[in-house]
Symmetry: C2
Amino acid sequence: MDSSSARKRGRPPRAFDGQLDTRQALVRAGVAVLTEKGFAATGIDEVLRAVGVPKGSFYHYFASKEGFGAEVIDAYAAYFARKLDRFLRDPVLPPLERIRAFADDAERGMRRHGFRRGCLVGNLGQEMAALPEPFRHRLLAVFEDWQARMARCLEEARTGGGLRPDADCGALAAFFWIGWEGAVLRAKLEQDAAPLRRFTEGFFRSLPLAGPHA
Amino acid sequence: MDSSSARKRGRPPRAFDGQLDTRQALVRAGVAVLTEKGFAATGIDEVLRAVGVPKGSFYHYFASKEGFGAEVIDAYAAYFARKLDRFLRDPVLPPLERIRAFADDAERGMRRHGFRRGCLVGNLGQEMAALPEPFRHRLLAVFEDWQARMARCLEEARTGGGLRPDADCGALAAFFWIGWEGAVLRAKLEQDAAPLRRFTEGFFRSLPLAGPHA
DNA sequence: GGCAATTCTAGACCGATCGTCTATAAAATC
DNA sequence: GATTTTATAGACGATCGGTCTAGAATTGCC
């Protein structure tokens, strides 16, 4: 959605030009802004200005700010799930290396955005007390999903002999995401990637690696 | 400050009654509310209602919402530093046990508040992008302070023979706080203490414990 | 191809919030 | 006890977020 295109009243002509679908553009901008500033601190107007769309359009596509937020969460979850799979199922790397690759990529991502953007799910989680209740379950479900994907990767490491046979991969995956969110938060605050690396290091130290096999 | 006490215009009589100092009461209420809902989502009016104080008083004591926020951070930092010392310097427990005691206490605290309150510093950290810049340095300083206190405790563990002599206590302390904030966030989201325990467990697994001594 | 129905935009509108201001009154000072 | 200082009371305006109604272009139908 190009802000240079002056809008006229009424239904716009079919988009011949390269304009994205308005709804999609709004959600996309919402992901960016909410990842940076959270839900409560973000005004609809800000999203609208970024996309160059008037307020009326917004409430045509979404029932409310809350409804918009829910869709933004879904979009982010979908985006992040794809990204996770790209790393955690990468067949050319051994399982534990995939986790490092994910962390490295996240670091690059944060650096690219000047450490202003964090994790949408973490942001909104922090705001829980001020958020509509339905958000809570949605966010929890997202964490469970990520945890499952991480657990699967760790299980591959276990069956592959990287982790000890008695490793509790579910618990380890939970540990990872719990701490990772903290690391992202801290990296945002310090505007530096060190916390991400520090946490990743600590996580790997905590793994029950298989000893040199007998 | 009791909301049942009807206020009259003008300067109030010296507080014979149990009324707290108004300024102090505002800061105290601010800590409670900001710990729950963060800075942006909280209106001044809400704090005023909680304390039963009119707006005029607020802007007599504080230059702005931002100035108020800064004092709230300081008050929370002081409160938390005292709490930390109470646990991390407890002479009747071995150093590593003190950390567990701290975690247990934090769990009780979150449970007592129905998992609605998190960590003020973590909350505001998450909001960074929408917060006045001076907050950032203040929050960073608080983390550094906590980290130093934790590192000292870990060093006691090292010299006491609980940790290996080559343990990097500063890095371990950093790892702790990075992940701990994540755990608090997650506990708030799940409304359950499990994340706190899971992280604490993982943290201890990551520690380079001294082997059975030769 | 004309007419209703649908789709989407424009922006007015209301309420809430932030920060200020004036009025008022008690205490402190001398 | 007169004056200055401290502190509360609450109205006020500017701004902004969220909702809603009106209106215009397009689509579908026959």
